[in-house]
Amino acid sequence: MSPVETAESAPEPASKIELPAHLGGGGEIPTFDVTLRVRRYDPEFSDESKWEDFRMTMYGTDRVLDALHKVKWEQDGSLSFRRSCAHGVCGSDAMRINGRNRLACKTLLKDLDTSKPILVEPIKGLPVEKDLIVDMEPFFQSFREIMPFLINRDHAPTKERLQSAEERARFDDTTKCILCAACTSSCPVFWTDGQYFGPAAIVNAHRFIFDSRDDAGDMRLEILNDKEGVWRCRTVFNCTEACPRGIQVTQAIAEVKQAILSRQV
């Protein structure tokens, strides 16, 4: 194979450009006071859950996670919540912020109304373990039940399987899922019926059903045709609104419903 110059190689950018004046900067980062009103619960010490207020000064680019850390690190070390990457890719810190499911690390304080207390609660529909920590096991159980892995019955080629860019694009949206449970725990059907697979499991089924390399679409559609499957979805759109990755969750569920009806992927 000979070296090729691809159409993608852009023309060389200029060695020097005029920068807009504001990049020279100036000004200060604004600070503001906020009250965090957190739902506390620790069954080791009390069966009751209660609201607790924490007051603090925060900066312009701070997120709800920064405020939670400020409480934990400076005011009350027993406040418990999960977090890891702190920039919206690991899915650890989904919680209910002012009544909406969001990732704490992706929600900037300045985008909330800081004149009132900011309400922070655990996500709903999963058993609370302590403060903002819930038992994720039922959520992952639903995920495992839809067979979330590529099943291909052909003889494996020695090199990669071919897939066109269009075929790859068909399921791109649902590959973005980080299993944070923001969607599933925003779903009113899931709140009342813990047996429902929930949006996240269906999203992950969609990711394989519409992958041209996968041969088990029929089996997954059969699983989701169950009484606790896609038909429980009432198209409330909470899930789509909650998804921190911007996945069109309700649309993915609709596409799975359509595929069950037509049995065509």
């Binding site: 920068l19 890891s84 892995f149």
Partner: protein, 599 residues
């Protein structure tokens, strides 16, 4: 306390741990212990790609990849290991594709490839398209695909089990030359169940360390809060050396002030760096490959621009990553996540405005020493039977003094797989080593100290001061003076650490306690990094000493090996540093003699 028994125990469920589990789980009774949930690990934050000389879009071969890796690491790479990695890269990518990873595709439907820093055609002639990728979320796709395949193979996970101790025993053995030494053997691990606060002992024939890095020793870092070097720490405390810990990678493009990673893929796709004068300054530092020079060179060039007064912003403390000449559609297709980070966290629109960036602590090149079979070494050439390490926790050493972009996703796949196979095969032919008496005793003592100590010192305050001094004195520019400052600071932090108070006194999900234990590891590792940096009186790769600006192959073309050693006292050590003994290990050279490193 419960005791569990497995053939193989894997500590960590990131890329390396789960890649190992897929192999080991099919061959032996295997458990994976992770302090998080699977898919929360920081492999998922990797963005740009995974290099392999597939030659899908232009001529390439694994020998060029090996050369780039060796040169990128400023010749401190063990060349036998680099060769293994570059050769096995091709199968590693194909394996992932077969497992279902949704790579971006070429018009012919094959895996697409793009450019990345330091990866070149024919030994440095021009950038080459070698990185296989899935938009700018390659790590996310790898982590998800590996977890999906763990589900497929029914891998047993113990979630939120924090491993705090390696159970090792020592017995007298005789070398071929007749000398007697103490041979370490692995018997299992002790873990702390976060949900209940109970200890669990896992007896195992093989243990694989796959716990990732230690970026939280620095303030500005791309690393997750949970990357506190636990695996390196527990190994070090058990007398296992740490190799090349002075080499830490600072990724050039962290979001200014936040450290959140913006992939090198941005520059691979054509983005460039500019200073306050609008100048593309990398043309001066690396005339041939410019913005695609390796990370150590780009990071130092950026820091130098800022130091010489050509930084941007109110405090002139960052430079700009310019994507404005790229088509918005191209940016959306190839770099959707990182441009969203710029919008979300800095309120900058990358289509029209350059993005403020500055180097961010990213990756530990050093770690627990292993051979190419991933067996852990207790000294330069004695393996510890049954103990393996792979991924960032390990030092095999394929990254030398500076890792090339994409080679970490490759490392976890190639050496994770090797570890899984080797650990399972070893377990088939080995017996369990008897657990020491009271196997949990050290862990009980560690936790008890943290729980009852009530001197009033706050964990978060000490950690912040540690991170501040590491950023100020151990970042891309170092001198004997700055290093001494850190050592003095750490000595005071250690004293204060003995007087910490943990507020949470409960057993359930006591993450307050966890952070206190993690700080212990951070302090210990920061000290090892700093002592190793003091000894290395030369500049090489990620370690730049302003008082010794040149590479010195005569004196320092060798790995450093740091041992925990209580016999070393402040009085007995030349540098007045207690508790650490430094030795060296030769570099494996096969094909490439060290040359001047220019790009």
């Amino acid at each position: 306390m419960q005791v569990h028994k497995y053939d193989v125990v894997i500590v960590g469920a990131g890329g390396a741990g789960m890649r190992a589990a897929i192999e080991s789980g099919q061959r032996a009774h295997t458990a994976v212990l992770t302090k998080l949930y699977p898919t929360r690990s920081h492999t998922g934050a990797a963005q740009g790609g995974m290099c392999a000389a597939l030659a899908n879009v232009e001529e390439d071969n694994w020998e060029w990849h090996t050369f780039d890796t060796v040169k990128g690491g400023d010749y401190l790479v063990d060349q036998d290991a680099a060769e293994v990695m570059a050769k096995e890269a091709i199968d590693a990518v194909i394996d992932l594709e077969k497992m279902g990873l949704p790579f971006n595709r070429t018009p012919e439907g094959r895996i697409d490839q793009r450019r990345f820093g330091g990866h070149t055609r024919d030994h440095g002639k021009a950038p080459v398209r070698r990185a296989c990728y899935a938009a700018d979320r390659t790590g996310h796709m790898i982590l998800q695909t590996l977890y999906q395949n763990c589900v497929k193979h029914n891998v047993e996970f113990y979630n939120e089990y924090y491993v705090l101790d390696l159970l090792t025993v020592e017995e007298e053995a005789t070398r071929e030359d007749g000398t007697v030494y103490l041979q370490k053997r692995i018997a299992g691990v002790v873990s702390y169940d976060l949900a209940t606060g109970e200890l669990h002992v896992f007896q195992a024939k093989s243990v694989i360390l796959a716990t990732g890095g230690a970026g939280k020793v620095f303030k500005t870092t791309s690393n997750a809060h949970t990357l506190t070097g636990d695996g390196m720490g527990i190994a070090f405390r058990k007398g296992i050396p740490l190799e090349d810990m002075e080499f830490f990678q600072f990724h050039p493009t962290g979001l200014a002030g936040l450290g959140i990673l913006l992939s090198e893929a941005a520059r691979g796709e054509g983005a460039i760096l500019r200073n306050s004068e609008g100048e593309r300054f990398m043309e001066r530092y690396a005339p041939t490959i410019k913005d695609l020079a390796p990370r150590d060179i780009v990071a130092r060039s950026m820091a130098n621009e800022v130091r010489e007064g050509r930084g941007c912003g109110p405090n002139k403390d960052y430079v700009l990553l310019d994507l404005t000449h790229l088509e918005p559609a191209h940016i959306d297709a190839k770099l959707p996540d990182i441009t969203e980070f710029a919008r979300t966290y800095l309120g900058v629109e990358p289509y029209t405005e350059p993005v403020p960036v500055f180097p961010t602590a990213h990756y530990a090149m050093g770690g627990v020493p292993t051979n190419i079979t991933t067996e852990v070494l207790q000294d330069n050439d004695t393996i510890i039977p049954g103990l393996y390490a792979a991924g960032e926790v390990a030092c095999v050493s394929v990254h030398g003094s500076n890792r090339l972009g994409t080679n970490s996703l490759l490392d976890i796949n190639v050496f994770g797989k090797r570890a899984g196979v080797a650990a399972a095969e070893y377990a088939k032919g080995a017996d369990f080593v008897d657990l020491p008496e009271n196997p949990e005793a050290d862990t009980v003592a560690l936790l008890e100290h943290v729980r009852v100590s009530d001197g009033g010192e706050k964990v978060a305050a000490i950690r912040k001061e540690l991170q501040d001094t590491m950023d100020a004195n151990m970042q891309v520019f170092r001198t004997a003076t700055s290093i001494d400052k850190v050592l003095a600071d750490i000595a005071s932090f250690e004293e204060r650490y003995s007087r910490i108070t943990v507020q949470d006194k409960g057993k359930r999900f006591n993450l307050d306690l966890l952070e206190a234990v993690e700080l212990g590891f951070l302090l210990e590792l920061a000290k090892v990094m700093t002592v190793a940096a003091l000894h290395r009186q030369e500049s090489r790769g990620g370690h730049y000493r302003e008082d010794f600006p040149d590479r010195d192959d005569e004196k320092f073309m060798k790995h450093s090996m740091a041992f925990k050693d209580v016999a070393v006292t402040a009085e007995s050590s030349a540098e007045h540093i207690a508790g650490i003994r430094l030795e060296t290990k030769p570099v494996v050279i096969t094909r490439y003699q060290p040359m001047v490193r220019k790009y």
